[in-house]
Amino acid sequence: MPGVRRANADDTSDAVALVLSSAPVALERLFSQQTEHNNYHAKSFLIRAFAQKAGQFGYGNHWVIEIDNKIAAIGCGWQFEMGEAYVKATLESMTSYYQGVDVLEVLHRCQALQPVFARPAADELCVGHIGVAEAFQRQGLCSQLLAHLESTAYTLGKRKLTLDVKQDNAGAIDCYQQFGFELVRITQDTSIMSLGTYVHMCKLL
């Protein structure tokens, strides 16, 4: 079985498609916007951001499984303290794509989602951007990625693995439950993005 490896810049095209598939509506509503002078697309933003190493959407923060020269699965892990360089690089990825004050709307939307996607606690590793290419689904890749992130959490001395998933994403929830995640909280997005209901899941380590 192919192993989990760190992503690199060459993975960008496949990887971004999978990251987008992990939360298509949320990422679209966060990052696609039309202003008087510019038309911004979530996909274009993510391609630029992923090609950089650092930051929330940078390749350096992602893990992938490659099969037959294709990126079959992707995921990442966030913790309470990601470091100053990470925050700076995430902001830079946004300010370099969104022109002038247009970035303020994106930042405002990110902030509006904080009650839904809460910052991980110090003892948690929060799993995100989990995507498996359609051709490789139901082959255990999601569990393989989660197992990798779980061992990362152990190494980091964390006590919980957590994640947020859309309530109607039955396939993903099924995989998470089989891996030992439990629903522990329900959150509702009340922002202008109207993303609907999410469930917060947790696995104690």
Binding site: A118, A121, K160, Q167, D168, A170, I173, Q177, E182, L183, V184, R185, I186, V199, H200, C202, L204
Partner: protein, 211 residues
């Protein structure tokens, strides 16, 4: 008695036996469908909680009865009130199951800082006064909840008076020996608040409690 008479009596007995078997014996296929049974029953650690009447509640209080246990907290905005309302809606039917042991429902609060005895009493009475409600110290609660196969944690600082508590939304089943035997997981397919489906609980309890 002639051979024919003996044969006729045997035949009649056989027919009567078949009729009884079809009409009186329990129908085949009445097996539990929804509960996730643990590979083997798990003993619970010794615990001492306080119930909503201010009385001590220990392992002994969960023996000689079937107990459906749900953990949560009274300030919970969604999972707890939905689950308790659902459980109270099937409670009369649970009580009418012809079981050797009574079937009880217990709500264990994992938020002892805010869930005082008085608050617990008021809360549980709203749903069903017969439900057991109890809480205790985290030193008792945490190992008990873990042994049941569930979890809880304070995801936010308790400095904020409106803090939320993360907790499992399953309903677990304790057998008359006081051991946990399995759990009903939340149902995500309904599009509503994902809690354990009370009709499924009722279906399986009518089989488990009469075996």
């Amino acid at each position: 008695m002639s051979r024919l008479s003996v044969a006729l009596i045997a035949l009649v007995a056989l027919v009567i036996g078949i009729v009884i078997a079809i009409n009186i014996a329990p129908p085949k296929g009445s097996e539990v469908q929804y509960i996730k049974l643990y590979p083997q029953a798990r003993a619970l650690p010794e615990f001492t909680l306080t119930d909503s009447d201010g009385q001590v509640l220990t392992n002994k209080n969960l023996q000689q009865q079937w107990t459906l246990v749900f953990v949560g907290y009274t300030f919970c905005p969604d999972i707890c009130p939905t689950t308790l309302a659902d459980l109270s809606s099937i409670y009369p039917q649970l009580q009418s199951i012809d079981s050797q042991y009574p079937i009880k429902v217990a709500f264990i609060s994992v938020d002892p800082a805010r869930d005082t005895t008085e608050r617990l009493a008021e809360y549980i009475d709203f749903f069903e006064p017969d439900f057991i409600a109890a809480t205790g110290q985290h030193a008792d609660l945490f190992p008990l909840v873990r042994a049941m196969g569930m979890m809880y944690s304070n995801s936010q600082s308790t400095d904020d008076p409106n803090y939320l508590v993360d907790h499992s939304s399953s309903v677990v089943l304790i057998n008359p020996q006081g051991n946990v035997i399995g759990r009903f997981k939340p149902d995500f397919t309904s599009g509503k608040v994902p809690v354990s489906d009370s009709k499924r609980i009722l279906h399986d309890m009518s089989i488990l409690a009469t075996e």
